[in-house]
Symmetry: C2
Subunit: 228 residues, 2 copies
DNA sequence: TTTAGTCTTTATGTAGTACATATCAAATGT
DNA sequence: ACATTTGATATGTACTACATAAAGACTAAA
């Protein structure tokens, strides 16, 4: 058993700081008291005293919750519980350069999975106006330089997510773009599936959900091939 | 024009605190200097002085990055850049009770999309051992009380994600469970698709990817019906 | 009575000091 | 050469002081 196996079994002891503990306690507190957005929280000094920590430590924990959008605070009004932006936190750590290779690959696959599964939502929500826009994007991309082609590629797939009518999904996709981009550029050879964008538009116009799934599968095939 | 229109046009002024600014600046700094995991950061006092803020403010910002796992710090060694847990941040704000209805719905749909798109990965990575385990899960669920049925439902779909061979995806799914659960229980009537779990297992054994996609679609159909 | 303006109070935001604690590194002793 | 002690140092925690903004009360003018 080499050192690597060992370090997997024996996770390093992470000395929890007070701020870590307080953060958890606060979250538990909010949950237990079933606070709703808009509800006022006790004052900093009260919380600090109740928890038996300095206002300093408490504020470090509060700062974390504030970053996540869980609480908002104004000068005299005090603090109130807010609706966190669930993707905001995610966004902050999504830098291809500091994510390890395995996770990058996982996220790449995640996006492929999303694209493949999008069909149902798409067929539920698509409108003729959407399809027209999508078509105009697809038509622009023929015979252009590479950097423009990539922009257009993003625009096309982005439009697809937008057509799903799911804002969270759309934002999620935008956040994942840098990762996707990074992984794709890692593997030099420009991949081209058997079905291109115009083909997909055509299916959206006249084909069934099943047709579209097959089309998308063919479109992404080169990526899947690489996974095997 | 009533008050509501007004509040849409005029977003409330959010007074950025120093900690907010410093957080951004630190993130930019790490990016610009292209720090890699393991690299040491300057001392707190140096950073505070360079940024022109008190150590207090700086530590609030650092506390945020520490929460996200971007940095780690030990007593005398100083701080080092670390690999953030990309899902850790997400996990912290994923509470069905504080997420607004629209976003809940979005996430519910997101999970449906994932399940639908899973087929390709599944067929790339599935093993006979996996399928056997999946089958044993599916077989357990006949003739049991409701709470057990739900646990088994989770186990089955969880196993599917596990079979994708994508750890991030698997973790992501586990995190999304409470949301999915919450939305499903909101809509009382127990949904039953035309294809049950044993049916899906059967397809995995002998059917094609296409068959499985159709099967999963039929399995989830009740959920999709509700979206329309 | 209503409106405008001022003052007081108060909770958060920021700064600074002091000390505790853990740990590295050098000095010391065996 | 090895074990022990000691000092230096960076983070962790506590406390104090003041700045700032905003709510609420109070006052004066229309």
């Amino acid at each position: 058993m080499d050192i690597n196996d060992l370090s997997k079994d024996l996770a390093p002891i992470i000395s929890n700081t007070m701020a870590d503990v307080v953060e958890v306690k606060l979250r538990e507190y909010l949950k237990k008291k079933s606070f709703k957005p808009g509800d006022a929280l006790p004052k900093e000094l009260e919380l600090a005293e109740a928890l038996g920590v300095s206002r300093n430590v408490l504020r470090e924990a509060l700062s974390r919750l504030r970053m996540l959008g869980m609480i908002e605070s104004k000068k005299k009004r005090g603090m109130v519980l807010a609706r966190p932006d669930i993707l905001g936190a995610f966004e902050r750590v999504l830098d291809p350069l500091i994510i390890d290779k395995n996770t990058l690959q996982d996220i790449f696959e995640l996006r492929l999975v999303l694209e493949m599964g999008l069909a149902e939502l798409l067929y539920i929500n698509k409108t003729n106006k959407d399809i027209a826009e999508l078509e105009s994007i697809a038509k622009k991309e023929v015979n252009n330089d590479n950097s423009f082609r990539i922009k257009n590629e993003i625009a096309f797939h982005g439009k697809l997510y937008e057509m799903s009518g799911n804002d969270t999904l759309k934002r999620f996709q935008i956040m994942l773009l840098p990762i996707f981009d990074y992984v794709v550029t890692l593997e030099k050879k420009p991949t081209r599936g058997l079905v291109d964008h115009l083909g997909l538009v055509e299916i959206l116009k006249n084909g069934t959900v099943e047709d579209f799934k097959k089309g998308m599968q063919a479109h992404l095939q080169p990526h899947f091939d690489r996974l095997k």
